[in-house]
């Protein structure tokens, strides 16, 4: 509770929390999935579970881009770093994600030219300033990040920068939600929709969830009050037997998304017929590749890539956690073999991964409580 005080309208937070208790039918158990890893992080950080009645269960979804990338793609990306003329660039989040021969950081320690960039535009700048090298950008992310990669590629093409390529691992959120709804072991009553993805795609792409799957979805902001209001909005819909798309995060998310961003994506990318997600298997039309117009900047066409599927370590249950079937602490490796310091799976690497978030805020709390005085 103490963190809540730092936020705007703490009184409104307790009122919303009370309203949620009134709205929730004590005879029912509600499972609500927050799709986005940013929400997962916020929910643990602010202890929002403590503000909800025990029959509302928040299930963590697949919206952490680092977490859903299968190990084989990391190996594929790192295979390019083995070329002596290649500068491998990626966001900092990628650096500690394990591949079969170690993480990018470990490859760097062994001599590969691997650099953190904070923007794809900076990877392009590196190419511009190092004409004798080839700069490969390892692109990851949902629709939040994909437009930035698209604009960077358009610029590379316009400027005729040929020593630059993108290893495209951009994924799309809608097919992942569909896969979760189709999964026989999942039972979700309602969705807390992603915030920043929706600034790009808007709210319309979620309409089928309401119309055809009969599940309410509320696009939500990240503050404690935002998440609580979204839960209350979902409960109201469930109570009235409704299923519609609502936008709680109107101050940032326009209903129709960002047209300039969608246009840039359409100009550069094409949908892959299928793509492998960690723990969820192959999902059709769930990822982006560069289209023919940008073939010259496509790392997958410019380099020979092993393309080998790598299965996750057997004991790790990343897939079940990613789908929300298991809670992080129910995985056999959690907290002993797999920790943020020595992660076995990617969910333990990123602060948006549910294992890392659970470890940081819940696990330590329990560990402290269990030590006898």
């Amino acid at each position: 509770m103490k963190y809540i005080d730092e936020f705007r309208e703490p009184e409104l937070i307790s009122r919303t929390s009370e309203e949620i208790r009134r709205l929730a039918d004590p005879a029912r158990h509600y499972r609500m999935m927050e799709v986005c890893g940013g929400h997962t992080h916020a929910i643990y950080r602010f202890g929002l579970k403590d503000l909800l009645p025990s029959n509302i269960e928040l299930v963590h979804g697949p919206g952490c881009p680092v977490c859903v990338l299968p190990m084989g793609r990391i190996d594929d990306g790192l295979s390019m770093a083995a070329h002596p003329d290649v500068i491998f660039t990626a966001f900092g989040d990628m650096m500690r994600v394990p591949g079969t021969q170690g993480s990018p950081l470990e490859h760097k320690a062994r001599g590969a030219d691997i650099r953190i960039v904070y923007s794809p535009a900076d990877a392009l700048k590196l190419a511009r300033n190092n004409p004798s090298k080839h700069v490969m950008f390892f692109a990851i992310g949902f629709e939040t990040t994909a437009p930035s990669t698209a604009l960077t590629l358009m610029r590379a093409k316009a400027e005729g920068i040929r020593n630059f390529s993108v290893f495209c691992n951009h994924v799309t959120i809608i097919p992942a939600i569909r896969a979760i709804l189709d999964s026989p072991d999942m039972r979700i009553d309602a969705f807390i929709g992603p915030g920043h993805v929706s600034t790009v795609i808007g709210c319309r792409p979620y309409e089928w969830i309401a119309r055809h799957e009969n599940k309410p979805i509320v696009v939500s902001g990240f503050e404690p009050l935002d998440v609580l209001q979204s839960v209350a909005m979902l409960l109201r819909q469930l109570q009235h037997g409704e299923a519609k798309v609502e936008n709680q995060y109107r101050r940032v998310v326009p209903w129709d998304g960002n047209k300039a961003a969608l246009k840039a994506m359409a100009q550069v990318f094409t949908l892959r017929s299928y793509f492998e997600w960690r723990g969820m298997g192959f999902i059709s039309q769930s990822a982006l590749a560069l289209n023919e117009d940008f073939a010259d900047w496509d790392a997958e066409r410019r380099f020979e890539i092993p393309g080998i599927r790598v299965t996750d370590p057997k004991a790790a249950q990343c897939g079940e956690v990613l789908k929300g079937v298991l809670k992080p602490a129910q995985c056999k490796l959690f907290g002993n073999e797999c920790t943020p310091e020595r992660p076995v799976g990617a969910l333990m690497v990123s602060s948006e991964g549910s294992c890392a978030a659970y470890y940081q805020y819940e696990h330590r709390k329990h560990a402290l409580v269990s030590i006898p005085a």
Partner: protein
Amino acid sequence: MCLAIPGKIVELSASDPHRALVDVVGVRRGVDISLVEPDGIAPGDWVLIHVGFAMSKIREDEAQDQLRMLTALGEAEAAMQEAQGYSSDDADPQPEERPSP
């Protein structure tokens, strides 16, 4: 990964219509504004920045909320590091010596 960092437009770039100098908690960095241009962008406006690109125009009080949020999530430092990591418009990006967030 999905950090959205608030920043205030200081000036539009004279040489590149798609870039602007943005103040991110005291650090001035070049940011791409292509995605918010249709909203009309002028010095003094606040934007949410993701990986060096302004994603949406927001109000100043919302920008302050977002900063408090990043601080509470323990991500203010990562956000600052990200903002400082954006290369300034004349220099070669050299952020690779920083520790991974």
